[in-house]
Amino acid sequence: MLIPVFLLTIGDALVADGKHILVLGSQSTLAREFVDQYIDEFSHITLVARNAEKLQVQAADLESRSKTVHTKCIDFNEIGIHQEFDGALDDIDEVYFFYGSLPDQQACEQSVESALEAINLNFVSSVAMLTSIANQFEQKRAGLILVVTSVAGDRGRKANYVYGASKAGLTAYCQGLRNRLASAGVRVVTVKPGMFKSAMTEGMPKTPAILWSDTDRIAKVVVEAATGSKEVVYAPGYWRIIMWVIKSIPERIFKNTSI
C-alpha cells in the first residue's frame, strides 16, 4: 500500500483512535523537530502554515509515518483567521503555537508598519485564535494549549524590544488564560526558549556559543512540557536563572549596558 498524499481541511469528520494535535506554524524549525520527537504520542495531526507546497512535503512525510494528516494554508497576518477555528476543535486534543517572526529592530524603529506587523503576527493573531480555541476547550472541559513565547519577553531591551513586547504580551495573555481555564481542566503551557539555531536565526553570529542551543534540545523541552506538569518552562532550563539575573538589574544600570 503506497501511502498517498491527500489534503483535508480542519473540521472534516474524523474517526479518532489516538490523539489529534493542531500545530500552528508547522514549518518552523522548532515545530518540525518537535513533531519528530513527539511522533509516538499522536495519530492525527493538523498542520497549519502559509506555504502550500511545503505543507504537501510535510503531509507526505507524516503520512509515510502512518499518521492521518490534515493541512490548512493560512497567513497568520490576515484578519479574521480565528474564524477558521470556530467550531472546528471538537476532535482536537492539543494545540501548539510555534509560529512567530523576529523583526528587524531598526526597521521597527523607523516604520510604524514594520512594528505593527510584528506585534500583529506574534501577539494579535495569537490572541484572535486563542480566544476561539480557549472557549471551545473550556466547553469540552479538556485540552492542552502550548504556546512558544521567548525569554525576550522577560525584559525589554533596546536591541529587540518590539519582538520582546510582542512575546511579553503573549506570555501575560497565556498566564491569565491559564488561570481562567484551570477550573475547566484545560492546561495552558508557556515555553520560553533562549536563542537556538533555526531558520529564524540563520546567518546570525552564534556567540557566545554556550548561550546557543540546538533545536533538538529545545524541542525536547517542549515535549517534556507537553507531557509533564509544569506550566511555565524555560528552554533550556538555565534561562530561568539568566533571566532572573537580567531582570534584577536596576533600570538605571541596565540602560548603560549593551545587553
Binding site: 514549518q27 518540525r32 512535503v57 512525510d61
Partner: protein, 432 residues
C-alpha cells in the same frame, strides 16, 4: 561549525542550512563560489569539506516522501539518517540492504560514498539498492536518475563524492527481516590464512561477516583476531533499537594518553575478553552494526590533533603486501586502536568511482603524531598502489592525485559529469 569526523584538516567551516529542498540555491556562479553538500560529516577525510567555497548542510532536508510497507521501497530526502530510516522501517519488518558502521550517516552521504557494509559478499554496496534519485545541478537543472533514466549520471553520482550535484531525493529498496535482533557468532583465529578460511565458509552461509584484529600482535601468520559472523534473527520482536549514546567521550582527552602502550593494552584486553568461542548469540541490531555510535563524540578520544583513518583493499593474490604493511606499522611504533578486516565479494561496482572491489579490505586508525604518522600512511599508500589496490576516499586525506588515478581509472570519464559549481578540498587535491 563544520569539520570532518577525524578533525583533519584542522578547519572549521560554516554552512548554509536550507530547511526545505525548495530552498536549495538554484544557481551559483563559477568555481570560486563553489558549493558542496554536507551530510552528517561522518567522513573522516576532507571529502565533506570545502574551505575555498561554501557548504550546504543537508540535515534539515529529512522528510520521507513515501514508504511502501508491502515492497520495502522507501523514498526520502537526502538528510534522513540511517537511524531515522530504521526507526520508521524496522517495526514494519524492513532493514537497510547495506549499512555502514554508523547509523548517523545520511542517505545522501551513503549514496555519495557508495558505502559498503559487512555483507558486501552477498549484497554489494549501498548503490546496488538505489532505484532512483533526483539530482539538482547548480545551474538549476533537476535530473531524475536511475538505471534507465540518465544512466551515466546515475553511475557517476553513486560514489561521486557529492561532485555531480546535490541529491534531493533518494529511493532505495530494503531487505525484509523477521526480527530486530541479530544472531552473532564469534571465533578467535590466528593469521591471515586462517581468516581467509573462516571467511570462505562464512560467506556461503552468513549474510554478515567481519574480523577485528590486533595488528601489533604478530606478523601475517601470527596476528590474533576475532571473526564475527551474523544473520538477522528469525524470531524476536520487530522493535526500533534506539541510537542512544550511553557514554560520552570528554571533549578533549590529552593525546599522549593514546600511545603505543595503551593501544596495545587495549587490544590485548579486548581480545582476552572476547576470545571465547561463541555461537548463535542474539543481540540487538544496534550493538552489532553500530557499536561506536554508543559513545557520543568518540572521535574526541584522539585529542585535539585528530586522527587518521586508513582503509584500503588489496587484490586476493597480494597477500604478502599485508605482511609489508604490518611490518611498517610495527616498525613505526604506532598502534591502531581498531583494525578491521573484511573480504569483499566479486560484485561489479554500482558507481564509476566506487571504492569496493574484489579483495581484502583493511581499516585502521592512527592518532595524529604529525609527520611520522603521515609518513607511515604515505608508505602504506605506496604499497597499496603498487599492489594494484585501492584506497577509500571517505577515510582519506592524504592520497596524491597520481595515486587516485591508479585507484580510480574512470577518473577522466567521471570528470565529464562533475558539476562546475561544486568542489571539495578532496577534489582539488586528487583531480589534478
Amino acid at each position: 561549525m563544520y569539520r570532518s569526523w577525524a578533525y583533519i584538516p584542522e578547519v572549521e567551516q560554516s554552512a548554509k542550512v536550507p530547511q526545505w529542498v525548495a530552498d536549495l540555491p538554484t544557481s551559483t556562479t563559477g568555481a570560486a563560489n563553489s558549493v558542496l553538500a554536507y551530510g552528517a560529516g561522518r567522513s573522516y577525510g576532507d571529502s565533506c569539506i570545502n574551505t575555498d567555497g561554501k557548504l550546504i548542510d543537508t540535515q534539515q532536508l529529512r522528510h520521507f516522501i513515501s514508504f511502501d510497507v508491502d515492497t520495502g521501497v522507501v523514498t526520502a530526502e537526502p538528510g534522513v539518517t540511517l537511524d531515522q530510516l530504521l526507526r520508521l522501517t524496522v517495526p514494519k519488518g524492513w532493514f537497510l540492504s547495506v549499512t555502514p558502521g554508523t547509523s548517523y550517516a545520511t542517505l545522501g552521504g551513503a549514496l555519495a560514498n557508495d558505502v559498503h557494509g559487512k555483507n558486501h559478499h552477498c549484497k554489494g554496496t549501498f548503490g546496488h539498492h538505489v532505484k532512483q534519485f533526483k539530482l539538482l545541478r547548480t545551474d538549476g537543472q533537476e535530473l531524475v536518475c536511475s538505471e534507465n533514466e540518465n544512466p551515466d549520471m546515475f553511475k557517476a553520482t553513486i560514489g561521486g563524492m557529492g561532485l555531480t550535484g546535490i541529491i534531493t531525493q533518494i529511493t532505495i529498496s530494503l531487505q525484509a527481516i523477521k526480527s530486530a535482533n541479530m544472531t552473532v557468532s564469534t571465533q578467535p583465529f590466528v593469521g591471515l590464512f586462517e581468516y581467509l578460511k573462516l571467511s570462505k565458509i562464512s560467506n556461503q552461509q552468513d549474510q554478515y561477516s567481519v574480523a577485528w584484529i590486533d595488528c601489533m600482535s604478530g606478523d601475517m601468520e601470527g596476528f590474533k583476531g576475532l571473526f564475527y559472523s551474523a544473520n538477522h534473527a528469525k524470531t524476536g520482536e520487530l522493535a526500533y533499537d534506539e541510537a542512544q549514546s550511553s557514554l560520552s567521550a570528554p571533549s578533549i582527552i590529552p593525546s599522549y594518553l593514546l600511545n603505543k602502550y595503551s593501544v596495545t593494552a587495549f587490544n590485548k584486553l579486548y581480545y582476552a575478553k572476547n576470545k571465547g568461542n561463541k555461537s548463535g548469540i542474539n543481540q540487538g541490531y544496534h550493538s552489532f552494526f553500530y557499536p561506536l555510535d554508543k559513545v557520543a563524540n568518540w572521535n574526541n578520544i584522539y585529542g585535539k590533533k585528530g586522527f587518521y583513518q586508513c582503509q584500503f583493499i588489496l587484490p586476493l593474490d597480494q597477500n604478502e603486501v599485508f605482511d609489508q604493511v604490518f611490518t611498517k606499522i610495527r616498525q613505526s611504533g604506532m598502534g591502531s586502536f581498531l583494525t578491521v578486516l573484511k573480504e569483499f565479494g566479486v560484485y561489479e561496482s554500482a558507481g564509476m568511482l566506487s571504492f569496493p572491489r574484489p579483495g581484502i579490505c583493511l581499516a585502521m586508525d592512527f592518532s595524529n603524531r604529525g609527520n611520522s604518522t603521515m609518513k607511515l600512511l604515505k608508505d602504506i599508500e605506496h604499497l597499496v598502489i603498487n599492489a594494484g589496490g585501492s584506497i577509500y576516499p571517505a577515510k582519506d586525506k592524504l592520497m596524491s592525485a597520481e595515486s587516485f588515478r591508479h585507484c580510480y581509472p574512470a577518473l577522466d570519464d567521471f570528470k565529464r559529469y562533475v558539476d562546475p559549481g561544486i568542489s571539495s578540498n578532496y577534489w582539488r587535491r586528487v583531480s589534478g
